[in-house]
Amino acid sequence: MGKFHSNISRRDFMKGIGLAGAGLGAAAATAPVFHDLDELASSPSGLTKQPWWVKTVDEPTTEVDWNVIERFAQTGQGYISSPDFGQHYENIKQAILSNEDGNTLRDHALFVGGEWAMFGWPDELAQSFVTHPNVSGAAYVQDATTAKAMGVPRWEGTPEENLRMMRSIISYYGGADGGAVELTDKTRKLILSADYYGKPYVFEDVDEAYETDAKYVIPNKCRWIINFHVLQNGAAGKVLQSALAYSAVYMAYAHADLICRRLQEFLHVLGYQGLGKNPGAIIGYANLAGLGEQGRHMIEISPEHGSLIREPAMLITDLPLSPTKPINFGAHKFCYSCGKCAENCPGGAIPTATDPSWEVAGAWNQAGTRCWFNDRAKCQPFGWKYENAGGCDNCQVVCPFSSLDKASIHQVVKATISNTSIFNSFFFAMDGFMDYGGFGHTAEDWWNRDLSKYPYDTTLGR
């Protein structure tokens, strides 16, 4: 061993070790010790983590005199000053006409869309085709607040401005991203010809869309699709084929309805139509709009969200939009080498063949694309909980692109995949080696997750 000189004496070194050991012992003695998960869940430290500078106290900082406090009746305390809704709407109108900052027509439309469902949700508006189908003959208060009803000019913007505006409002209402497709002779072919019950969608030269018992009528002037992502919680989904995973699916469906409804109201106030929900091939339009690429599992893969997308929801609209172009980030190509979704499909519904095909698997597929057509008859028993207690979203969760993106390696891999496919097989192997994608996770892992990393499960799916 070479000569080594230190300024610290042996005595000081041992003293330092002793102090460090004593410190560790003291810290261990004072730290809370939990004997089981119930104890942890019920302790104060099992609750939301506060910043270090927050102190827990026994009494609130507002003084309370419990001898004075009595139970309070809300009766008659709603509108303590007499509301004049006529003046209210006149105020809104004048603010719009004077272009008051923060109170313009689109600001007002944002408000109307955002307050949707505050006072309940009429059944007939669930997933409705037009904004207010008025099936029950009800009058909607929102109709009184549209540009038309108030007698103010409707919103006019360039297609680029409109797309920017829609992306902004989609994000605010709980969606993610946003794209647009123009309906041409070609792209119209992805609009459904009929719904699940056989009611046809038809295009006519009319001003306003409408729905009868016999048909849905789309005005020819509704020439654009606006589509966006409704995200699905990835953390709960890691407990494969469980009620937790399935809750992520159906919570996202509920969010999708809410977000679409909000957008319909927003467009309605602005003076435009938003026809929903999803009257077309949503994955096809998502590909065309550049929201993502189609994967082996026949659902969308997004660069940012992977397969953790419940649906790329869409509305048909007459708001002019600047179309967005398709994207290529190597996802579809990666599917050739991967097949992890197929391996983990309990029903065997996803083809394992390396190459995609033009041949459909059944009547549930729309012919005309080269992809890995899934067998829905094999998927549905698991997806719809006939065969198990928990439902299934395996293909979404196990997809290598569905990482939660807190580890930097994912960005390195995605960037590489986007530029070259030579490492695809290696990355697929590494994905298995690292055990990504939901294996071995328990519900307890999720129930006890660090809430500071997952502070709230919003419609953003995180």
Binding site: L404, K406, A407
Partner: protein, 90 residues
């Protein structure tokens, strides 16, 4: 967290450089390169370990310690030994 890690790493590197200069220890370019690669690998390991745990992927987290953490320590050790042995020989 990364602010603190950056401060610590920066202070450690600065302290090392000052200490080596006080001892007139000169490092070759390849020794510095190996050490830098080791440091980068170590920081990469820490970030991916913590990130994987945040993603609820504990197996992946442990794998990072093995797959990138161990090589990082080896690179740092190699860099240290190259310098130390050259100093001893001098």
């Amino acid at each position: 967290m990364w602010l603190i890690i950056g401060l610590i790493a920066g202070a450690a590197v600065l302290g090392l450089v000052v200490w080596m200069r006080s001892r007139n220890i000169v490092i070759k370019w390849y020794e510095g390169l190996i050490g830098a690669l080791g440091l980068v690998a170590l920081l990469f390991t820490i970030q991916n370990f913590a990130g994987s745990l945040a993603e609820l992927e504990s197996t992946a987290a442990n794998m990072f310690l093995l797959v990138t953490g161990l090589p990082a320590l080896i690179l740092l050790a190699v860099s240290w030994q190259l310098v130390a042995r050259r100093q001893r020989a001098a």
